[in-house]
Protein backbone atom coordinates (compact mmCIF):
# COMPACT_ATOMS: atom_id res chain seq x y z
CA UNK A 1 0.00 0.00 0.00
CA UNK A 2 2.77 2.42 0.90
CA UNK A 3 4.70 1.24 -2.14
CA UNK A 4 1.79 2.15 -4.39
CA UNK A 5 1.63 5.57 -2.77
CA UNK A 6 5.38 6.01 -3.23
CA UNK A 7 5.12 4.98 -6.87
CA UNK A 8 2.51 7.69 -7.41
CA UNK A 9 4.84 10.48 -6.28
CA UNK A 10 7.52 10.42 -9.02
CA UNK A 11 5.24 9.94 -12.02
CA UNK A 12 2.49 12.51 -12.19
CA UNK A 13 0.84 11.12 -15.32
CA UNK A 14 -2.88 10.71 -14.83
CA UNK A 15 -2.94 7.18 -16.26
CA UNK A 16 -0.31 5.87 -13.89
CA UNK A 17 -1.96 7.52 -10.90
CA UNK A 18 -5.32 6.08 -11.93
CA UNK A 19 -3.81 2.61 -12.24
CA UNK A 20 -2.18 2.92 -8.83
CA UNK A 21 -5.43 4.18 -7.33
CA UNK A 22 -7.35 1.27 -8.85
CA UNK A 23 -4.90 -1.19 -7.34
CA UNK A 24 -5.21 0.60 -4.02
CA UNK A 25 -8.99 0.43 -4.10
CA UNK A 26 -8.99 -3.27 -4.89
CA UNK A 27 -6.43 -4.08 -2.22
CA UNK A 28 -8.23 -1.99 0.34
CA UNK A 29 -11.68 -3.42 -0.39
CA UNK A 30 -10.40 -6.99 -0.51
CA UNK A 31 -8.71 -6.55 2.82
CA UNK A 32 -11.83 -5.02 4.35
CA UNK A 33 -14.01 -7.85 3.05
CA UNK A 34 -11.67 -10.41 4.57
CA UNK A 35 -11.65 -8.58 7.87
CA UNK A 36 -15.44 -8.56 8.00
CA UNK A 37 -16.05 -12.11 6.79
CA UNK A 38 -13.57 -13.72 9.19
CA UNK A 39 -15.22 -12.64 12.47
CA UNK A 40 -18.71 -13.30 11.08
CA UNK A 41 -17.65 -16.82 10.12
CA UNK A 42 -15.99 -17.34 13.50
CA UNK A 43 -19.13 -16.24 15.31
CA UNK A 44 -21.37 -18.52 13.27
CA UNK A 45 -19.00 -21.47 13.68
CA UNK A 46 -18.92 -21.06 17.45
CA UNK A 47 -22.70 -20.88 17.68
CA UNK A 48 -23.04 -24.03 15.58
CA UNK A 49 -20.56 -25.80 17.86
CA UNK A 50 -22.41 -24.66 20.97
CA UNK A 51 -25.77 -25.72 19.55
CA UNK A 52 -24.41 -29.12 18.55
CA UNK A 53 -22.84 -29.65 21.95
CA UNK A 54 -25.47 -28.34 24.29
CA UNK A 55 -28.88 -28.89 22.73
CA UNK A 56 -30.39 -32.36 22.75
CA UNK A 57 -33.52 -32.87 20.65
CA UNK A 58 -34.93 -35.40 23.08
CA UNK A 59 -35.54 -32.86 25.83
CA UNK A 60 -37.42 -29.72 24.81
CA UNK A 61 -36.20 -26.48 26.30
CA UNK A 62 -38.06 -24.95 29.25
CA UNK A 63 -38.68 -21.86 27.15
CA UNK A 64 -40.95 -23.93 24.95
CA UNK A 65 -42.91 -24.98 28.02
CA UNK A 66 -43.01 -21.38 29.22
CA UNK A 67 -44.29 -20.16 25.87
CA UNK A 68 -46.93 -22.84 25.64
CA UNK A 69 -48.01 -22.07 29.19
CA UNK A 70 -48.28 -18.40 28.29
CA UNK A 71 -50.19 -19.20 25.12
CA UNK A 72 -52.71 -21.24 27.05
CA UNK A 73 -54.53 -24.36 25.93
CA UNK A 74 -54.60 -23.33 22.27
CA UNK A 75 -52.95 -26.48 20.95
CA UNK A 76 -49.15 -26.62 20.67
CA UNK A 77 -47.33 -23.69 22.21
CA UNK A 78 -45.17 -23.14 19.16
CA UNK A 79 -47.71 -22.00 16.59
CA UNK A 80 -47.48 -19.26 14.02
CA UNK A 81 -49.86 -16.87 15.76
CA UNK A 82 -47.86 -16.83 18.97
CA UNK A 83 -44.66 -16.47 16.98
CA UNK A 84 -45.98 -13.47 15.07
CA UNK A 85 -47.25 -11.82 18.25
CA UNK A 86 -43.89 -12.33 19.93
CA UNK A 87 -41.98 -11.03 16.92
CA UNK A 88 -44.12 -7.91 16.61
CA UNK A 89 -43.82 -7.25 20.33
CA UNK A 90 -40.06 -7.62 20.10
CA UNK A 91 -39.81 -5.23 17.16
CA UNK A 92 -42.01 -2.65 18.88
CA UNK A 93 -39.85 -2.85 22.00
CA UNK A 94 -36.67 -2.51 19.94
CA UNK A 95 -38.09 0.48 18.08
CA UNK A 96 -39.10 2.23 21.29
CA UNK A 97 -35.73 1.55 22.87
CA UNK A 98 -33.89 2.82 19.80
CA UNK A 99 -35.90 6.05 19.79
CA UNK A 100 -35.04 6.43 23.46
CA UNK A 101 -31.38 5.94 22.62
CA UNK A 102 -31.58 8.54 19.87
CA UNK A 103 -33.21 10.96 22.30
CA UNK A 104 -30.52 10.38 24.93
CA UNK A 105 -27.84 10.82 22.31
CA UNK A 106 -29.53 14.03 21.18
CA UNK A 107 -29.43 15.28 24.78
CA UNK A 108 -25.73 14.38 24.89
CA UNK A 109 -26.16 11.81 27.64
CA UNK A 110 -23.19 9.85 26.31
CA UNK A 111 -21.90 8.82 29.77
CA UNK A 112 -25.37 7.45 30.49
CA UNK A 113 -25.36 5.39 27.30
CA UNK A 114 -21.83 4.20 27.90
CA UNK A 115 -22.63 3.15 31.45
CA UNK A 116 -25.64 1.23 30.21
CA UNK A 117 -23.48 -0.45 27.56
CA UNK A 118 -21.06 -1.59 30.23
CA UNK A 119 -23.89 -2.92 32.35
CA UNK A 120 -25.36 -4.83 29.42
CA UNK A 121 -22.03 -6.30 28.37
CA UNK A 122 -21.22 -7.41 31.88
CA UNK A 123 -24.67 -8.94 32.34
CA UNK A 124 -24.46 -10.92 29.12
CA UNK A 125 -20.97 -12.16 29.83
CA UNK A 126 -21.62 -12.98 33.47
CA UNK A 127 -25.08 -14.56 33.28
CA UNK A 128 -25.20 -16.10 29.83
CA UNK A 129 -21.50 -16.88 29.92
CA UNK A 130 -21.91 -18.51 33.30
CA UNK A 131 -24.83 -20.60 32.13
CA UNK A 132 -23.03 -21.72 28.99
CA UNK A 133 -19.93 -22.55 31.01
CA UNK A 134 -22.02 -24.61 33.43
CA UNK A 135 -23.70 -26.44 30.58
CA UNK A 136 -20.33 -27.19 29.02
CA UNK A 137 -18.92 -28.42 32.33
CA UNK A 138 -21.93 -30.65 32.92
CA UNK A 139 -21.97 -32.02 29.40
CA UNK A 140 -18.25 -32.69 29.26
CA UNK A 141 -18.07 -33.75 32.93
CA UNK A 142 -15.06 -31.57 33.68
CA UNK A 143 -14.40 -31.77 37.43
CA UNK A 144 -13.71 -28.09 38.00
CA UNK A 145 -14.24 -27.04 41.58
CA UNK A 146 -16.61 -24.31 42.72
CA UNK A 147 -13.85 -22.03 44.04
CA UNK A 148 -11.98 -21.98 40.75
CA UNK A 149 -15.20 -21.39 38.85
CA UNK A 150 -16.19 -18.54 41.16
CA UNK A 151 -12.79 -16.95 40.62
CA UNK A 152 -12.45 -17.42 36.86
CA UNK A 153 -15.94 -16.44 35.70
CA UNK A 154 -16.01 -12.87 37.14
CA UNK A 155 -12.46 -12.29 35.96
CA UNK A 156 -13.23 -13.35 32.41
CA UNK A 157 -16.51 -11.41 32.35
CA UNK A 158 -14.92 -8.22 33.69
CA UNK A 159 -11.96 -8.44 31.33
CA UNK A 160 -14.12 -9.06 28.27
CA UNK A 161 -16.61 -6.34 29.21
CA UNK A 162 -13.78 -3.85 29.62
CA UNK A 163 -12.29 -4.95 26.31
CA UNK A 164 -15.62 -4.56 24.53
CA UNK A 165 -16.38 -1.18 26.02
CA UNK A 166 -13.09 0.70 25.73
CA UNK A 167 -11.08 -0.41 22.70
CA UNK A 168 -8.27 2.00 23.50
CA UNK A 169 -7.41 0.26 26.76
CA UNK A 170 -6.75 -3.21 25.39
CA UNK A 171 -5.16 -4.78 22.32
CA UNK A 172 -7.30 -4.59 19.20
CA UNK A 173 -7.40 -8.37 18.89
CA UNK A 174 -8.82 -8.66 22.41
CA UNK A 175 -11.44 -6.00 21.69
CA UNK A 176 -12.60 -7.88 18.62
CA UNK A 177 -12.58 -11.21 20.47
CA UNK A 178 -14.73 -9.71 23.23
CA UNK A 179 -17.31 -8.49 20.73
CA UNK A 180 -17.44 -11.90 19.07
CA UNK A 181 -17.85 -13.55 22.48
CA UNK A 182 -20.82 -11.33 23.37
CA UNK A 183 -22.40 -12.04 19.99
CA UNK A 184 -21.92 -15.81 20.36
CA UNK A 185 -23.51 -15.90 23.81
CA UNK A 186 -26.49 -13.79 22.80
CA UNK A 187 -27.05 -15.74 19.59
CA UNK A 188 -26.91 -19.04 21.45
CA UNK A 189 -29.57 -17.77 23.84
CA UNK A 190 -31.82 -16.85 20.92
CA UNK A 191 -31.57 -20.35 19.48
CA UNK A 192 -33.30 -21.64 22.61
CA UNK A 193 -36.54 -19.92 21.58
CA UNK A 194 -39.19 -22.02 19.84
CA UNK A 195 -38.62 -22.60 16.16
CA UNK A 196 -41.38 -20.51 14.62
CA UNK A 197 -40.68 -17.68 17.03
CA UNK A 198 -37.07 -17.65 15.93
CA UNK A 199 -37.95 -17.50 12.25
CA UNK A 200 -40.55 -14.80 12.80
CA UNK A 201 -38.03 -12.80 14.82
CA UNK A 202 -35.42 -13.04 12.08
CA UNK A 203 -37.77 -11.85 9.36
CA UNK A 204 -39.21 -9.12 11.58
CA UNK A 205 -35.76 -7.86 12.54
CA UNK A 206 -34.70 -7.79 8.88
CA UNK A 207 -37.74 -5.67 8.01
CA UNK A 208 -37.10 -3.46 11.04
CA UNK A 209 -33.48 -2.99 9.99
CA UNK A 210 -34.59 -1.95 6.52
CA UNK A 211 -37.08 0.56 7.88
CA UNK A 212 -34.92 1.94 10.67
CA UNK A 213 -31.95 2.74 8.45
CA UNK A 214 -33.52 3.73 5.14
CA UNK A 215 -36.71 5.57 6.12
CA UNK A 216 -36.22 9.32 6.67
CA UNK A 217 -37.74 9.16 10.14
CA UNK A 218 -36.16 5.89 11.16
CA UNK A 219 -34.52 5.86 14.60
CA UNK A 220 -31.20 4.50 13.43
CA UNK A 221 -31.11 6.96 10.57
CA UNK A 222 -31.69 9.76 13.07
CA UNK A 223 -28.86 8.42 15.19
CA UNK A 224 -26.51 8.27 12.23
CA UNK A 225 -27.40 11.75 11.03
CA UNK A 226 -26.85 13.13 14.52
CA UNK A 227 -23.48 11.40 14.76
CA UNK A 228 -22.37 12.66 11.35
CA UNK A 229 -23.59 16.16 12.15
CA UNK A 230 -21.62 16.29 15.39
CA UNK A 231 -18.69 14.25 14.07
CA UNK A 232 -18.99 11.97 17.09
CA UNK A 233 -19.02 8.23 17.56
CA UNK A 234 -22.29 6.62 18.59
CA UNK A 235 -21.62 4.75 21.84
CA UNK A 236 -22.41 1.28 20.52
CA UNK A 237 -20.91 -2.16 20.28
CA UNK A 238 -19.79 -2.04 16.66
CA UNK A 239 -17.26 -4.33 15.08
CA UNK A 240 -14.82 -2.34 12.98
CA UNK A 241 -12.29 -3.72 10.54
CA UNK A 242 -9.22 -1.79 11.62
CA UNK A 243 -5.74 -1.97 10.19
CA UNK A 244 -2.93 -3.72 12.00
CA UNK A 245 -0.06 -2.47 9.82
CA UNK A 246 1.80 0.35 11.58
CA UNK A 247 2.75 2.05 8.33
CA UNK A 248 -0.89 2.20 7.31
CA UNK A 249 -1.65 3.75 10.65
CA UNK A 250 0.96 6.40 9.99
CA UNK A 251 -0.43 7.42 6.65
CA UNK A 252 -4.05 7.33 7.68
CA UNK A 253 -3.60 9.42 10.78
CA UNK A 254 -1.61 12.10 9.02
CA UNK A 255 -3.97 12.07 6.09
CA UNK A 256 -6.92 12.66 8.33
CA UNK A 257 -5.17 15.52 10.09
CA UNK A 258 -4.28 17.14 6.81
CA UNK A 259 -7.81 16.83 5.49
CA UNK A 260 -9.15 18.31 8.69
CA UNK A 261 -6.72 21.20 8.53
CA UNK A 262 -7.64 21.76 4.90
CA UNK A 263 -11.33 21.88 5.74
CA UNK A 264 -10.89 24.48 8.44
CA UNK A 265 -9.50 27.77 7.22
CA UNK A 266 -8.84 29.10 10.70
CA UNK A 267 -5.08 29.33 11.12
CA UNK A 268 -5.18 29.15 14.92
CA UNK A 269 -7.18 25.93 15.02
CA UNK A 270 -4.98 24.48 12.32
CA UNK A 271 -1.87 25.21 14.32
CA UNK A 272 -3.49 23.78 17.45
CA UNK A 273 -4.53 20.59 15.71
CA UNK A 274 -1.11 20.05 14.21
CA UNK A 275 0.53 20.91 17.49
CA UNK A 276 -1.56 18.34 19.30
CA UNK A 277 -0.73 15.67 16.78
CA UNK A 278 2.97 16.26 16.46
CA UNK A 279 3.51 17.18 20.07
CA UNK A 280 5.63 20.19 19.23
CA UNK A 281 5.07 23.81 18.32
CA UNK A 282 5.25 24.37 14.61
CA UNK A 283 6.33 27.59 13.01
CA UNK A 284 3.93 29.60 10.91
CA UNK A 285 5.82 28.82 7.71
CA UNK A 286 5.65 25.05 8.15
CA UNK A 287 1.97 25.26 9.08
CA UNK A 288 1.35 27.25 5.94
CA UNK A 289 3.20 24.66 3.89
CA UNK A 290 1.10 21.87 5.31
CA UNK A 291 -2.04 23.85 4.61
CA UNK A 292 -0.98 24.42 1.02
CA UNK A 293 -0.22 20.74 0.53
CA UNK A 294 -3.62 19.91 2.02
CA UNK A 295 -5.33 22.16 -0.49
CA UNK A 296 -3.40 20.56 -3.32
CA UNK A 297 -4.25 17.10 -2.06
CA UNK A 298 -7.92 17.97 -1.89
CA UNK A 299 -7.89 18.84 -5.56
CA UNK A 300 -7.25 15.23 -6.47
CA UNK A 301 -10.76 13.97 -7.05
CA UNK A 302 -11.70 10.52 -8.22
CA UNK A 303 -10.56 7.04 -7.36
CA UNK A 304 -7.54 8.20 -5.43
CA UNK A 305 -9.72 10.37 -3.24
CA UNK A 306 -12.19 7.56 -2.77
CA UNK A 307 -9.47 5.13 -1.80
CA UNK A 308 -8.07 7.57 0.73
CA UNK A 309 -11.54 8.28 2.04
CA UNK A 310 -11.98 4.57 2.64
CA UNK A 311 -8.95 4.62 4.88
CA UNK A 312 -9.55 8.12 6.20
CA UNK A 313 -12.31 7.22 8.61
CA UNK A 314 -10.33 4.38 10.06
CA UNK A 315 -8.06 6.76 11.90
CA UNK A 316 -11.01 8.52 13.51
CA UNK A 317 -11.40 5.91 16.29
CA UNK A 318 -7.92 6.79 17.46
CA UNK A 319 -9.09 10.24 18.45
CA UNK A 320 -12.48 9.17 19.71
CA UNK A 321 -10.93 6.29 21.61
CA UNK A 322 -9.18 8.86 23.79
CA UNK A 323 -12.55 10.22 24.84
CA UNK A 324 -13.71 6.63 25.27
CA UNK A 325 -10.85 5.88 27.64
CA UNK A 326 -11.58 9.13 29.47
CA UNK A 327 -15.18 8.10 29.86
CA UNK A 328 -14.28 4.68 31.20
CA UNK A 329 -13.68 6.31 34.55
CA UNK A 330 -17.27 7.53 34.54
CA UNK A 331 -18.49 3.96 34.85
CA UNK A 332 -17.67 3.34 38.53
CA UNK A 333 -18.95 6.78 39.46
CA UNK A 334 -22.44 6.32 38.08
CA UNK A 335 -24.06 3.12 39.34
CA UNK A 336 -27.32 5.00 39.91
CA UNK A 337 -27.54 5.99 36.28
CA UNK A 338 -26.87 2.47 35.10
CA UNK A 339 -29.56 1.17 37.40
CA UNK A 340 -32.12 3.80 36.49
CA UNK A 341 -31.88 3.31 32.75
CA UNK A 342 -33.21 -0.27 32.69
CA UNK A 343 -36.14 0.78 34.83
CA UNK A 344 -37.39 2.96 32.00
CA UNK A 345 -38.02 -0.10 29.90
CA UNK A 346 -41.10 -2.18 30.55
CA UNK A 347 -40.13 -5.84 30.98
CA UNK A 348 -42.09 -7.86 28.47
CA UNK A 349 -40.98 -11.45 28.96
CA UNK A 350 -38.08 -11.74 31.40
CA UNK A 351 -35.35 -9.45 32.72
CA UNK A 352 -32.65 -11.25 30.81
CA UNK A 353 -34.26 -10.94 27.37
CA UNK A 354 -34.83 -7.29 28.18
CA UNK A 355 -31.13 -6.70 28.69
CA UNK A 356 -30.24 -8.69 25.64
CA UNK A 357 -32.81 -6.86 23.58
CA UNK A 358 -31.73 -3.45 24.82
CA UNK A 359 -28.14 -4.20 24.04
CA UNK A 360 -29.00 -4.99 20.45
CA UNK A 361 -30.70 -1.62 20.05
CA UNK A 362 -27.28 -0.06 19.85
CA UNK A 363 -26.05 -2.46 17.25
CA UNK A 364 -28.90 -3.18 14.87
CA UNK A 365 -28.80 -1.47 11.56
CA UNK A 366 -25.51 0.32 11.95
CA UNK A 367 -24.69 -1.60 8.83
CA UNK A 368 -21.81 -0.65 6.62
CA UNK A 369 -20.46 2.84 6.74
CA UNK A 370 -18.72 4.18 3.68
CA UNK A 371 -17.24 7.12 5.54
CA UNK A 372 -14.38 4.99 6.78
CA UNK A 373 -13.58 1.41 7.65
CA UNK A 374 -16.36 -1.10 7.22
CA UNK A 375 -18.33 -1.32 10.44
CA UNK A 376 -20.78 -4.06 11.25
CA UNK A 377 -23.17 -3.84 14.17
CA UNK A 378 -23.05 -6.59 16.72
CA UNK A 379 -26.75 -7.23 16.19
CA UNK A 380 -25.95 -8.34 12.66
CA UNK A 381 -23.50 -10.88 14.04
CA UNK A 382 -26.15 -12.11 16.45
CA UNK A 383 -28.91 -12.64 13.92
CA UNK A 384 -26.63 -14.22 11.33
CA UNK A 385 -25.55 -16.68 14.01
CA UNK A 386 -29.12 -17.27 15.18
CA UNK A 387 -30.06 -18.26 11.63
CA UNK A 388 -27.16 -20.67 11.29
CA UNK A 389 -27.68 -22.02 14.80
CA UNK A 390 -31.33 -22.68 14.09
CA UNK A 391 -30.29 -24.48 10.89
CA UNK A 392 -27.83 -26.57 12.92
CA UNK A 393 -30.72 -27.94 14.95
CA UNK A 394 -32.09 -29.57 11.82
CA UNK A 395 -29.25 -30.76 9.61
CA UNK A 396 -25.70 -29.81 8.67
CA UNK A 397 -26.66 -29.49 5.02
CA UNK A 398 -28.88 -26.56 5.92
CA UNK A 399 -25.98 -25.11 7.92
CA UNK A 400 -23.73 -25.05 4.86
CA UNK A 401 -26.47 -23.61 2.66
CA UNK A 402 -27.34 -20.88 5.16
CA UNK A 403 -23.71 -20.02 5.75
CA UNK A 404 -23.03 -19.58 2.05
CA UNK A 405 -26.24 -17.58 1.63
CA UNK A 406 -25.33 -15.24 4.48
CA UNK A 407 -21.82 -14.64 3.17
CA UNK A 408 -23.25 -14.05 -0.30
CA UNK A 409 -25.74 -11.60 1.19
CA UNK A 410 -22.92 -9.83 2.97
CA UNK A 411 -21.04 -9.59 -0.31
CA UNK A 412 -24.10 -8.16 -2.04
CA UNK A 413 -24.48 -5.62 0.74
CA UNK A 414 -20.85 -4.61 0.30
CA UNK A 415 -21.43 -4.15 -3.42
CA UNK A 416 -24.46 -1.97 -2.71
CA UNK A 417 -22.34 -0.06 -0.24
CA UNK A 418 -19.78 0.63 -2.94
CA UNK A 419 -22.55 2.03 -5.15
CA UNK A 420 -24.56 4.09 -2.68
CA UNK A 421 -21.74 5.13 -0.33
CA UNK A 422 -23.88 5.63 2.73
CA UNK A 423 -24.91 3.58 5.73
CA UNK A 424 -26.90 0.51 4.70
CA UNK A 425 -28.66 -2.15 6.76
CA UNK A 426 -26.62 -5.35 6.68
CA UNK A 427 -29.42 -7.62 7.85
CA UNK A 428 -32.13 -7.76 5.13
CA UNK A 429 -30.21 -9.24 2.19
CA UNK A 430 -28.41 -11.87 4.24
CA UNK A 431 -31.47 -12.90 6.23
CA UNK A 432 -33.64 -13.08 3.13
CA UNK A 433 -31.12 -15.23 1.28
CA UNK A 434 -30.55 -17.36 4.38
CA UNK A 435 -34.23 -18.07 4.93
CA UNK A 436 -34.82 -18.82 1.25
CA UNK A 437 -31.84 -21.17 1.10
CA UNK A 438 -32.92 -22.88 4.31
CA UNK A 439 -36.42 -23.53 2.99
CA UNK A 440 -35.17 -24.68 -0.41
CA UNK A 441 -32.53 -26.93 1.10
CA UNK A 442 -34.99 -28.46 3.51
CA UNK A 443 -37.73 -29.06 0.96
CA UNK A 444 -35.88 -29.77 -2.28
CA UNK A 445 -32.20 -30.57 -1.83
CA UNK A 446 -32.76 -33.21 0.82
CA UNK A 447 -35.25 -35.09 -1.33
CA UNK A 448 -32.96 -34.77 -4.32
CA UNK A 449 -29.92 -36.11 -2.50
CA UNK A 450 -31.94 -38.93 -0.98
CA UNK A 451 -33.24 -40.05 -4.36
CA UNK A 452 -29.75 -39.85 -5.85
CA UNK A 453 -28.29 -41.97 -3.08
CA UNK A 454 -31.18 -44.43 -3.28
CA UNK A 455 -30.62 -44.92 -7.00
CA UNK A 456 -26.84 -45.14 -6.44
CA UNK A 457 -26.18 -42.06 -8.56
CA UNK A 458 -24.34 -40.40 -5.64
CA UNK A 459 -22.56 -42.18 -2.80
Amino acid sequence: MADAAAATVPGEASSSSSAAATTTVLDSLGEDITRIVTPVSTCMLLVVLLVSLLSSPSSPSPFTAAFSAAAGPGGGGDDITTALITAVTFVVAVTAATFLLAFLFYLRCTPCLRAYLGFSSLSVLLLLGGHVALLLLSRLRLPLDAASFALLLPNAAAALALAALSPASVPIALHQAALVAIAVLTAFWFTLLPEWTTWALLVAMAVYDLAAVLLPGGPLRLLLELAIERNEEIPALVYEARPVDPRHGHNWRLWRERTQSGAELDANSTVEVLGEVLGTNLGASSAGNLGVSAIRSDERVGLAGDARNLRLGTSMPNLSSDSASAQVEVLPASPEISVSVPEMRVPLIQPRPERTRDEEDDEDGIGLSSSGAIKLGLGDFIFYSVLVGRAAMYDYMTVYACYLAIIAGLGITLLLLAFYRKALPALPVSIALGVVFYVLTRTLLETFVMQCSTNLVMF
Binding site: A2, A5, A6, T8, V9, P10, E12, L54, S61, P62, H131, V132, L134, L135, L137, S138, R141, L142, P143, L144, D145, A146, A147, S148, L151, L152, P154, N155, A156, A158, A159, L162, A163, A168, S169, V170, P171, I172, L174, L192, R242, P243, V244, P246, R247, G249, H250, N251, R253, L254, W255, R258, L278, G279, T280, S293, R296, S297, N318, S325
Partner: protein
Protein backbone atom coordinates in the same frame (compact mmCIF):
# COMPACT_ATOMS: atom_id res chain seq x y z
CA UNK B 1 8.25 13.05 25.56
CA UNK B 2 11.68 12.71 24.04
CA UNK B 3 10.58 9.64 22.11
CA UNK B 4 7.60 11.58 20.86
CA UNK B 5 9.88 14.28 19.50
CA UNK B 6 12.09 11.63 17.95
CA UNK B 7 9.07 10.21 16.15
CA UNK B 8 8.28 13.49 14.39
CA UNK B 9 10.63 13.12 11.38
CA UNK B 10 9.23 9.68 10.62
CA UNK B 11 5.70 11.06 10.60
CA UNK B 12 6.75 13.90 8.35
CA UNK B 13 8.39 11.51 5.93
CA UNK B 14 5.29 9.36 5.80
CA UNK B 15 3.07 12.39 5.42
CA UNK B 16 5.14 13.81 2.58
CA UNK B 17 4.52 10.86 0.29
CA UNK B 18 1.41 12.24 -1.47
CA UNK B 19 3.23 15.49 -2.28
CA UNK B 20 4.31 16.39 -5.84
CA UNK B 21 7.83 15.58 -6.95
CA UNK B 22 8.92 19.21 -6.61
CA UNK B 23 8.36 19.03 -2.86
CA UNK B 24 9.55 15.44 -2.74
CA UNK B 25 13.16 16.50 -2.52
CA UNK B 26 12.78 17.93 0.96
CA UNK B 27 12.30 14.66 2.92
CA UNK B 28 15.56 13.24 1.62
CA UNK B 29 17.39 16.38 2.67
CA UNK B 30 15.68 16.31 6.07
CA UNK B 31 16.55 12.63 6.46
CA UNK B 32 20.17 13.30 5.60
CA UNK B 33 20.34 16.06 8.17
CA UNK B 34 18.71 14.40 11.16
CA UNK B 35 19.18 10.65 10.62
CA UNK B 36 15.89 9.96 12.41
CA UNK B 37 15.73 7.07 14.89
CA UNK B 38 12.98 4.44 14.47
CA UNK B 39 9.66 5.36 16.13
CA UNK B 40 9.01 3.97 19.60
CA UNK B 41 5.67 2.31 20.34
CA UNK B 42 4.81 0.98 23.79
CA UNK B 43 1.87 -1.20 22.75
CA UNK B 44 1.47 -4.22 20.51
CA UNK B 45 -0.84 -2.19 18.25
CA UNK B 46 1.89 0.30 17.40
CA UNK B 47 0.52 3.66 16.25
CA UNK B 48 -3.06 2.48 16.73
CA UNK B 49 -2.53 1.83 20.42
CA UNK B 50 -2.05 4.26 23.27
CA UNK B 51 0.46 7.05 22.74
CA UNK B 52 3.56 6.92 24.85
CA UNK B 53 2.48 9.74 27.16
CA UNK B 54 -0.64 7.93 28.35
CA UNK B 55 0.97 4.51 28.62
CA UNK B 56 2.40 4.97 32.11
CA UNK B 57 -0.88 6.04 33.69
CA UNK B 58 -2.72 3.28 31.89
CA UNK B 59 -0.27 0.58 33.00
CA UNK B 60 -0.38 1.84 36.58
CA UNK B 61 -4.18 1.86 36.63
CA UNK B 62 -4.41 -1.68 35.28
CA UNK B 63 -1.80 -2.90 37.72
CA UNK B 64 -3.62 -1.42 40.71
CA UNK B 65 -7.04 -2.66 39.59
CA UNK B 66 -5.59 -6.14 39.31
CA UNK B 67 -5.46 -6.26 43.10
CA UNK B 68 -9.27 -6.10 43.23
CA UNK B 69 -9.42 -9.86 42.59
CA UNK B 70 -8.98 -9.20 38.86
CA UNK B 71 -5.67 -10.80 37.90
CA UNK B 72 -6.84 -11.01 34.30
CA UNK B 73 -6.17 -7.28 34.10
CA UNK B 74 -2.55 -8.09 34.84
CA UNK B 75 -2.58 -10.46 31.90
CA UNK B 76 -4.07 -7.77 29.66
CA UNK B 77 -1.40 -5.35 30.88
CA UNK B 78 1.36 -7.79 29.93
CA UNK B 79 -0.14 -8.54 26.51
CA UNK B 80 -0.81 -4.90 25.68
CA UNK B 81 2.64 -3.63 26.67
CA UNK B 82 4.48 -6.68 25.35
CA UNK B 83 7.16 -4.55 23.61
CA UNK B 84 7.96 -2.91 26.94
CA UNK B 85 8.19 -6.27 28.65
CA UNK B 86 10.33 -7.88 25.98
CA UNK B 87 12.74 -5.09 25.17
CA UNK B 88 16.16 -5.66 26.77
CA UNK B 89 17.34 -3.18 29.36
CA UNK B 90 20.21 -1.99 27.17
CA UNK B 91 17.95 -1.16 24.24
CA UNK B 92 17.91 2.52 23.17
CA UNK B 93 14.16 2.74 23.71
CA UNK B 94 14.49 1.61 27.32
CA UNK B 95 14.86 5.24 28.33
CA UNK B 96 11.32 5.88 27.12
CA UNK B 97 10.06 2.64 28.66
CA UNK B 98 11.75 3.11 32.03
CA UNK B 99 8.64 4.48 33.74
CA UNK B 100 6.25 1.93 32.22
CA UNK B 101 8.40 -1.11 32.77
CA UNK B 102 7.98 -1.51 36.57
CA UNK B 103 4.20 -1.79 36.33
CA UNK B 104 4.33 -4.27 33.47
CA UNK B 105 6.95 -6.43 35.18
CA UNK B 106 4.98 -6.47 38.41
CA UNK B 107 1.83 -7.37 36.49
CA UNK B 108 3.69 -10.27 34.92
CA UNK B 109 4.90 -11.45 38.31
CA UNK B 110 1.44 -11.15 39.82
CA UNK B 111 -0.27 -13.02 37.02
CA UNK B 112 2.38 -15.74 37.12
CA UNK B 113 1.84 -16.26 40.84
CA UNK B 114 -1.93 -16.32 40.37
CA UNK B 115 -1.66 -18.83 37.53
CA UNK B 116 0.65 -21.13 39.44
CA UNK B 117 -1.56 -21.16 42.52
CA UNK B 118 -4.78 -21.67 40.60
CA UNK B 119 -3.40 -24.36 38.31
CA UNK B 120 -1.88 -26.19 41.24
CA UNK B 121 -5.16 -26.20 43.13
CA UNK B 122 -7.26 -27.16 40.10
CA UNK B 123 -4.88 -29.93 39.08
CA UNK B 124 -4.80 -31.29 42.60
CA UNK B 125 -8.57 -31.25 42.71
CA UNK B 126 -8.97 -32.98 39.35
CA UNK B 127 -6.29 -35.64 39.77
CA UNK B 128 -6.81 -36.21 43.48
CA UNK B 129 -10.51 -36.68 43.15
CA UNK B 130 -12.50 -38.58 45.70
CA UNK B 131 -9.48 -40.51 46.96
CA UNK B 132 -7.78 -37.38 48.22
CA UNK B 133 -10.74 -35.26 49.31
CA UNK B 134 -13.12 -37.97 50.45
CA UNK B 135 -16.88 -37.81 49.87
CA UNK B 136 -16.76 -34.02 50.18
CA UNK B 137 -15.27 -33.92 46.68
CA UNK B 138 -18.69 -34.50 45.16
CA UNK B 139 -20.02 -31.47 47.00
CA UNK B 140 -17.27 -29.25 45.64
CA UNK B 141 -17.27 -30.24 41.98
CA UNK B 142 -19.00 -27.62 39.84
CA UNK B 143 -21.63 -29.61 38.01
CA UNK B 144 -22.90 -31.09 41.26
CA UNK B 145 -23.06 -27.62 42.78
CA UNK B 146 -25.01 -26.49 39.72
CA UNK B 147 -27.41 -29.40 40.07
CA UNK B 148 -28.02 -28.59 43.71
CA UNK B 149 -28.62 -24.92 43.00
CA UNK B 150 -30.83 -25.83 40.08
CA UNK B 151 -28.93 -23.54 37.72
CA UNK B 152 -27.94 -25.94 34.97
CA UNK B 153 -31.50 -27.11 34.42
CA UNK B 154 -32.57 -23.65 33.37
CA UNK B 155 -31.19 -23.96 29.86
CA UNK B 156 -31.14 -27.71 29.70
Amino acid sequence: MEARVAGVPEDEESGLLPRPSAAGRRPSVAAARRAPPPPVWATVDGPLGLPLEEAEGHARRFFLWGFACLPFLWAINCCYFWPVLRSPATFPSSAAFSRIRPYVVRSAIGFTIFSVVLLTWATTFIIGGERLFGPGWNDLVMYNVADKLGISGFMG
